[in-house]
Structure formats: C-alpha cells, structure tokens
Amino acid sequence: MNDSLSPTSFRSALLMTEVVIASQLCKTYKGAKGSRTTAVKDVSFGCRAGEVFGLLGPNGAGKTTTLRMLSTVLTPTGGTAVIAGHDVVGDPGGVRRSIGFLSGNTGLYPRLTPREVLTYFGRLYGMPDPLIQQRIADLSRVFGMDDFLGKRCDALSSGMKQKVNVARTVLHDPPVLILDEPTVGLDILASRTIVEFVQDYRARGKCVIFSTHIMGEVSRLCDRLAIVHKGRVQFLGTLPELRERAGADLEQAFLTVLEQST
C-alpha cells in the first residue's frame, strides 16, 4: 500500500475530525425592566475540516447570534463551543486566532486603505511584517485587488470592500472560516468570486461555516447544513437527507422544515 493518501482519501480522513463543535449553545439577553429575550435556545452541531457547513434560517432565527458566539464576540449564557481545540468561553483568544469571521457587522476602516487595514490585522494576529506583505500580495492576486489596495476604503464599491473583508478573514490562514451572508448586496461577479474562493478554501482542507438565504449557493456549496428556527436546530444533515425528508425542491423543503419546527 502506498504511504501517501490519495486526495480523496485525504479528504475523507479529514472529514473524520470535527473542528467546530457547538453543544447546547444558548443566549439570553436581559431587556428593560428585567425582561428576558432568548435569541438562541439550544443549538448543537459539528463541522468537519474540508467541508462547507451551511447555516440556514429565516431572519431572527438566531443564526447571527450563534455565529457571534462561535466568534467569541458574544459569550454564551449556556452551553459552549470548541473550535480547533479551543473553548469559546475558556480560551477566546485561541478561538479568535483559529477563525476568520465575516458578517454585516464587520466593517473596514473607511479612512484607511485596504493595505493598511490588512497590515493592521496581520500585526494583531502576530504575523511578521514580511509574511503580512506576502499574504497581501497573494490575496490581492486571488481577489484582483491590485488596483485599489492603496485607495481609502470609503472610496471603494461594496464589491471591492467585501473582497478586502474576505481577505482580512483569511489573512492568517485560519483552519475555520465563518461567513455570515457574505454575498448579500453583491453583484453576480463579486458573489461568484466569493463562492469560488469558498470552494478553494474547502479544497485546502479547511472548514467553512456559511450562512445564507440564497438556495442556489446552498446547493452549490454546502456539504451539510443546519436549519435554525426559533432558536433551535430543526434539521441537521446533508442536502440529499433534507430532500429525502422534506421534498425535492430545496426552497420547498426549507419551508417544510420551518413549518414543522418546534
């Protein structure tokens, strides 16, 4: 038998390990006058290296809160999650070093240039300057950012900004990438660049958690998915499993799961 694994078997070997394990995540907010709002009641799932994991759900389902807890921006009020061996509650610094996170709430500094933004975050990740510049050059080639690396971010189009933002999330080459609706508001060209990048990233054996509303992206990208509604996971499995349970049409299947949700 050959010592080295074939690409397929390498991937299947990776799929054995779960790099993201969310267990019984719960988030309750204190409101005015002692009222409590529960955004996430009980969310558990696992994502493996080399797969794209889709997180679906209507607005207000608790997707963004879940992802924010994974990114350590929010501390769970119950349950926990472990990412690349780091606990979100016990070792948030380790978690942040292991992930790249992008959402509608992660903006770029308008008064800085993309190069300055990327250099800044590279330094915060503790990367040496020559490595940062090397990464910026590589990512600039991948996303076609050469033309606007030196322009101020407030002068960029939303497509350009999103490319810079994705570049920021993968600057330190993290094993886990969390993208919260990364293609929202983008034109078809910019969306495609991002979708292709996600596919490439998966091919390199990384784990990508991807939340979206666009069913086309789900079917193109996601190896497995979770449908979240009313703060709970209502479905967890592969696309064929979803179709088997709720129907052949993806959109209809999604709606069916929502209707049946508890």
Binding site: Y29, K30, S71, T72, V73, L74, T75, G93, G94, R96, R97, I99, F101, S103, G104, N105, T106, G107, L108, Y109, P110, R111, L112, E116, Y120, F121, R123, L124, Y125, G126, R168
Partner: protein, 507 residues
C-alpha cells in the same frame, strides 16, 4: 494586557483619527488659532473701539451764552498757563502752541510718548530718545497739566454744539422706559424734551449742560467771590457715548478748577499744600509682567482645561460610537487581542490628543505674546516669564486632567449607539468642566487647602498659583494624588465597560 498589542492598536487609531477633519480641527487647528485670534482680535477691537470713541465728535446741548462762556474760560486757561505750556512743550520737543487751537499737537505727542514709553527709540533718533527720556522725567504736576491740556483741547475740537431751544419735543409726549427727569434741574434741563433728546434713538445730543450765566459773569467781574458755581450736566450713563460726553465735560471743568485754584493760591501767597493737606502717592511693587500674570494666571488654566477637553472630545467619540456606526468595532473584537488592550490603545490616543491640544494652546499663547503682534503699548507689558519648575509642575497636573477627560469621554461615548447619540451624552459634560475650571478666574477666591479636594478646581487654582511663582507643595500633593486617583477610578470604570458585550455591541 500586552504592551506591543496596545501600541499596534494605538498606532492605527492615531493614523485613523488624524485623517478625521473634525479631530484635526479640535485637536490642532482650534488650539493654535484661537489664542492669537482671541488675544489680538479682541484687544485690537477693544482698543479701536476706544480710540473711535475718544476721537468721535459728540453733540452737547447748551444755551448759546453758556457755551460762549465755556469757550472764554478755556481761552483764559490757555493764557493763564502759557508759562507751563512753554516749559512742557520744550521738554517734549514740540513747538509751543500759538493759540488754543494748536493745543492738540502737544496732546498727540504726549499720547505717542505714553504709548511707547517702555519701547526703545529707533537707533540714531537721538531727538526722539531724548523726548522719551524727558517724558519719563516730567514732574507729577507737569503730567497732570498735559492731561488738562488734552481735556481742554478735546472739548473744544470734538464738540458740535446745539442750543437747548432747538431740541424737539418728545414724540407722543412720553419719555422712553426707564428714563425720568431728575428733580431740581436748573434752567431748561428740567424740560422733558432735553432728557428725551439724550435718550432718543436718533441720539440728537449726547449730553446737555446748564451754565449759570449770571453767576459766572458776576464772578468774572469780581474774582473775590469764592462760592462754587454749580454747573449741571444731564446725561444717560447707560449709553457709552453719553457717558463719554459727560467725562469730557468733567475733565474740562476739572482742568479749569485746577488752574484757577493755582492762581488763587498764588495770589494769597499760599502753597498747594494749603488746600491739599494730604497727598497720597501710589507705589506698586508689581512689575507689568507680574500684573499681567495675575490676569493671565486665571485665564490660562481655564483655557488649558477647556482645550484639553475639546482635544479629547472628537477622537473619543470617533473611536467608540463612531466605530460602532461604521461597524468596525466588531471587526476589531474578532482579532486575538483582549478587550483591555483595545481600551488601552484607544485611551492612549485620546489621552495624547487631550495633552496635545492643551500644549498647543499654551504654546500658541506664549508665541502670541512673545512675538507680540499686539497693539502698541501692550506687547511690552506682556513679557511673560515663567519659572521652569512652575511650568514642569503645571504640566504634571495636565496628566491626570487629560487622563480623566479621555477615560470619561471614552466611557460615555462607548455607551452610545451612534456618533450623534454620543455627542448628546458628552456635550453636557462641558458644563461640568467649565464651572470648576473657571475658579481661577474668580479674583476673590483664595487658594485654600480645602479646594485641593475639588477636582479640576484644584488644578485650575494651583496652575494659577504656580504661574505666579507660588509653590504650594501640600496643595500640589493633594491635587495630584486625588486627581490621579479619580482619573484611575474613571479609567477602571471605562475599562470595565469595554468588557461588557451589552455596551460594546449596543447598536
């Protein structure tokens, strides 16, 4: 907390805020520009207003006969004082006036010499140098005489006369609100139209004078009549030009009195001491610079405190609420740095901005004085000299002040959802600051030890004392320690706020 991380954050935040126009305006431009504008602009304006008032032609109403008599008395003053006039003119290097109309030349020369008294004459102009010297050496009587000559000349040259009869009756017979005719007014001054003319919007006349003609003529005939002649001036003290008209008449009559008195004494072979049994001389130990420090000593701490606050204001809002608004705060929270590092980095930037603004204010003020682009006469008095130790101690007080402002503003602004909301939270803090900061400008407030416990007021008072060269060590120690403790407490609270996700993510 990791220092290298804090510095990476601070460096980026500096770059960021320095590209923000509002921050630049409040941190750099305003402190630099406001001092020269305030000091030069206001003092020039005030001086030009004064000159304009002094050289303005004013209208005085009198009976024709009374007015003629005043002119005659002025002429008599001129002939009575020819001798002194000759002496003083010669000393100041002016040709002796041939008639009373030429008196203003002497007055003008005296004004020039007075304004530039501590200035050096240009090289080679020995005549002018001699005049300066001569002016310094004039006797008090001669100086007083110069003042009298100016008063006489001013009233004659800068008055346009009206007769009391030509003043119109007030419209609808009423006087303006708050105006009343005083009781027992002699002659026509008791008629409401005189008061109405002085107070009318058109300012037909600035003042009116009643000259008792008969009594005066009688006295001119028989100089032995020693009773005082009552002259009455009706004016409106609430209007500056009317007040100026009164002042001119008063100095004019004073000049006449003084001259006549001298003659009478001479006639009786008496010396001036006969009617002036006591002569109080004023002798001030404070140099011009010291007097100025007393004034500026209060203003400077106030401005330093205020501008330090202004300097911290925009960057603190921009780096907290502004970042929430731009969605960049959450991006930073995702980096593998502790929230304490983030707070420290931001604090460092705002703290520096507060210090910078305060230092620039002081520097700009010092430069304005040094290169005295100030009106003539003022610049020489403004040679501020502060002791290095006093400056160092005053600067040390700036540290807790800037830290307090930076921590307070960061904490308050972090609680806001948007820049606008932060502004409405932070702006009222100005009033909290102005009140204690203004303490040093209250002339009667003594620097007692108990004030050392009042935040900011202690700094304001102590800076004033330091600039005067008073080293109050106990006061200084209490102030520094209590201010550092307060700044530390607020900083701790602010850093706690930076750890609370409900505050950080409130959008």
């Amino acid at each position: 907390m990791k220092l290298s991380t804090v510095l990476i954050i601070a460096r980026k935040e500096f770059r960021d805020v320095l590209r923000d126009r509002r921050t630049l305006l409040f941190m750099l431009l305003l402190p630099i520009a406001v001092m020269p504008v305030l000091l030069i602009g206001v003092s020039r304006f005030a001086m030009s207003q004064r000159t304009a008032k002094e050289s303005r032609e004013l209208t005085i109403a009198a009976d024709p006969m009374g007015r003629n008599l005043l002119t005659s008395l002025a002429n008599r003053w001129f002939t009575d004082n020819l001798l002194v006039l000759g002496v003083v003119s010669a000393r100041l290097g002016v040709a002796t006036a041939a008639s009373i109309d030429e008196l203003d030349e002497l007055s003008a020369r005296a004004e020039t010499l007075k304004g530039g008294q501590s200035k050096k004459a240009p090289d080679g102009d020995t005549a002018l140098l001699a005049s300066y010297k001569a002016f310094q050496e004039l006797t008090p009587e001669q100086v007083r005489f110069l003042g009298d000559a100016s008063a006489i000349s001013r009233l004659l040259k800068l008055t346009s006369w009206k007769t009391l009869d030509e003043l119109p009756e007030p419209k609808d017979g009423k006087l303006a609100q708050g105006v009343s005719v005083p009781e027992d007014m002699p002659g026509k001054l008791g008629e409401p139209r005189v008061a109405a003319a002085i107070t009318s919007k058109e300012k037909a006349v600035h003042a009116a004078i009643d000259v008792p003609v008969d009594a005066l003529l009688e006295r001119l005939d028989d100089e032995d009549i020693a009773s005082s002649i009552k002259l009455t001036v009706l004016y409106d003290s609430s209007q500056s030009l009317s007040k100026e008209a009164y002042d001119r008449l008063e100095t004019f009559i004073d000049a006449l009195s003084r001259s006549e008195m001298r003659l009478r004494l001479a006639k009786q072979s008496l010396r001036p001491g006969f009617i002036e049994p006591y002569d109080l001389r004023e002798a001030n130990v404070a140099s011009d610079s010291r007097k100025l420090q007393a004034v500026l000593g209060g203003l400077l701490p106030y401005l330093i405190i205020l501008f330090s606050f202004f300097g911290a204001f925009y960057p603190s809002l921009d780096l907290t609420a502004g970042e929430k608004e731009r969605f960049t705060l959450e991006t930073l929270l995702l980096a593998p740095v502790s929230r304490l590092d983030i707070a420290a980095g931001k604090f460092l930037v705002v703290f520096t901005a507060a210090i910078t603004a305060a230092v620039l204010t002081t520097t700009s003020m010092a430069l304005t004085f040094r290169y005295g682009v100030l009106p003539e006469g003022a610049s020489s008095a403004l040679q501020l000299e502060f002791q290095p130790l006093a400056l160092a101690l005053a600067a040390s007080l700036l540290v807790p002040v800037a830290a307090l402002f930076a921590a307070t503003l960061l904490g308050v602004a972090l609680c806001a959802r948007s820049f606008k909301e932060a502004q409405s939270y932070a702006a009222p803090l100005q009033f909290l600051i102005i009140l204690p900061a203004v303490a040093a400008m209250m002339p009667d407030l003594e620097t007692e030890l108990r004030w050392a416990w009042v935040p900011l007021m202690n700094v304001s008072l102590l800076m004033k004392e330091l600039l005067k060269g008073n080293y109050l060590w106990e006061f200084y120690t209490i102030t520094l320690v209590s201010m550092l403790a307060l700044a530390g407490l607020v900083l701790w609270i602010a850093s706690r706020l930076f750890q609370r996700e409900s505050v950080l993510l409130r959008t």
